[in-house]
Amino acid sequence: MSAQDTGTTFSSGAGGPSPDDALRVEHISKRFGAVTALRDINLHLRQGEVLGLIGDNGAGKSTLLKILCGFQPPDRGRILLNGQEVTFKSVDHARSLGIDIVYQDLALVNELSVYHNMFLNREKVRWPLLNNRAMRKIAREHLDEIGINIPSVQLPVARLSGGQRQAIAVARAVFEDAKILLLDEPLAAMGAKEGAMILDLVLDLKKRGDVSVIIIAHNYGQVFQVCDRVNLLQHGEITLDKYTKDTSVDEMTELVVSEYRKALRERHAAEGSGTAEGSGAA
């Protein structure tokens, strides 16, 4: 597959959509004024699969993410969950349908304990008081079950490391019955050990099989280890869709770099042709 001919078709070595996809996105487009953020995006996520959605800053990752989590609607195109077409009215609505986004910093309330965070807005209550004992017990069991080991669920989240916080946020989403998890830059600002911990957590989720995951990242080195498949997003289009085993970090790097060189060549050509468009200074 040559890396250059990525105009409108994308290099697909990954089968293609099938009826039993957990999530399917068809012909999604989004414009902001004169800027086309997303152009005819097609994407699918199989049941229990871990998909890496990779792209540089400005490639349209966050726009796509906001559409998938129900934060904003697309201009065109449709989204199917388990074969059913859905229109997300809000983030809450998307969550109730089983698709949940996990942000690194936004998710947790630092001053509250781990178990209060896991039950946030779904507390167990023995009116009028919180049933803390029950919540502690369930939180502990749940964390053990998906292999997250923290010294105590009573610790305030502020005392945990970045990786532990991320793990708790993921655990909470799974706990709330999310079937599709969107992890936004889960490894950003994390040390190697911390990152490995999150990747292990994703692998554990994959083993369970009832959760499908999309990892959004712009650094693909680490992500590659856990993804079954990667999609590369460039300038609002998906330019590569391959199983991880059929591609490599090198190929993707090459794709991104060659695309950059191509753009550079085109710009030089435009400047050289003398039509300049008054944009020479820029």
């Binding site: 936004l106 509250l112 807005n121 490995a196």
Partner: protein, 353 residues
């Protein structure tokens, strides 16, 4: 920083051997005690102050008259208003108008009895309701119209003061004698009703301490102040929590206003104002409530109120004249706060002011 990260990942990476778990649990428990030290520090200060005045001026300080002065007259108003301010500060707001609710509410009761012949009991309820409504207005302007509460409540405070002065013609009045039978439950001089303000303070502090630490309302109040976006993300109706806390604060202001009016047998347009509000905010902060929101305790604020009351009362007994009292008082507040902040920094608790 990197150290915590390292140990953190170790902890989570693989289940530690059983012995290690035990050691970790002990650490956690010790940390838990440290977490509560915010209150512990104030408790030590309170006990020290009480001991000092108690031992050095036993004859005057340790007497029923002085106990009533200290606990019912000086401390109770601060502690009760502080309950509201703690809740507001934790969820990221403040109410500077509560002292003027305190001024205004007794007049509502007075006019209801004198001009409209409302039964005393209902008139007291009307006074309290005034506070709740004023709190709602503060919330409406702050939450719905999005004016910072600092500004909102300066504005509504002026309006309440202006209304009080206008309606009362800036004249104090006596409490209508018919209402004393109801008013004594709020506190009037003489045994046993002189203890009522203190009992109210203790009961309300106990109730709201439980509300803050053991109910959803408390969790959501903390969430709203600690991570507003995250709380909204989780589907918490943050606005409802903030409205409620403004209304609770208004209620507390009105309650204290009525109590003071009955206790002094005087409905006075010059009572209340900024002073009791500032005392309450300082009590909250001395007690460990963060000015930036997210954390705080009502029991701590109660101790803070006790510290302030002990200082006020104690210096009066020492015979310190009114003129330099401000210097001593301000100095004491700053020393208490510096100790709090520095101790919190040593504990590594991060945001603490």
């Amino acid at each position: 920083m990197s150290e915590t990260t390292e140990s953190g990942s170790e902890v989570i990476g693989a289940p530690p051997p059983p012995g290690e778990t035990k050691a970790k649990n002990l650490t956690v428990r010790t940390l838990g005690l440290f977490g509560r030290q915010r209150e512990a520090t104030v408790l030590v200060v309170t006990v020290a102050l009480l001991l000092y005045f108690g031992l050095s001026h036993a004859s005057t300080f340790v007497s029923q008259t002085n106990a009533v002065d200290l606990l019912s007259e000086i401390m109770a108003p601060i502690a009760i208003i502080a309950i509201g301010e703690v809740l507001l500060l934790i969820c990221g707001e403040i109410d500077l108008s509560v002292g003027f609710i305190y001024t205004f509410a007794p007049f509502v009761m007075l006019f209801a009895i004198d001009d409209y012949h409302v039964p005393a009991f209902l008139a007291v309820i009307l006074g309290l309701l005034t506070g709740v409504i004023a709190g709602w207005v503060n919330a409406f302007i702050t939450i719905t119209l999005r004016v910072p509460s600092f500004i909102t409540t300066i504005g509504t405070g002026f309006i309440l003061l202006g209304m009080t002065l206008t309606f009362s013609h800036a004249e104090p009045s006596e409490i209508p004698p018919s209402s004393i039978s109801v008013g004594r439950f709020l506190g009037v001089p003489g045994n046993p009703w002189q203890w009522a303000p203190f009992v109210w303070a203790v009961v309300l502090v106990a109730i709201f301490h439980v509300v803050l630490t053991r109910t959803r309302w408390g969790l959501y109040t903390i969430s709203a102040g600690s991570n507003l976006l995250g709380a909204r993300e989780a589907g918490i109706n943050v606005n409802r929590i903030k409205y409620g806390n403004f209304m609770i604060t208004g209620f507390m202001g009105a309650l204290v206003g009525l109590q003071v009016a009955f206790y002094t047998n005087n409905v006075d347009p010059s009572s209340g104002g900024y002073t009791p509000m500032f005392y309450a905010v300082i009590a909250a902060v001395i007690g460990g409530t963060a000015m930036l929101g997210g954390s705080g305790t009502i029991f701590g604020a109660f101790l803070g109120a006790l510290v302030l009351a002990t200082l006020t009362d104690g210096f009066a007994i020492l015979g310190v004249s009114a003129n330099p009292l401000g210097i001593i008082f301000g100095g004491a507040i700053l020393v208490a706060m510096i100790a709090n902040v520095q101790l919190a920094r040593l504990r590594g608790a991060g945001r603490s002011i």
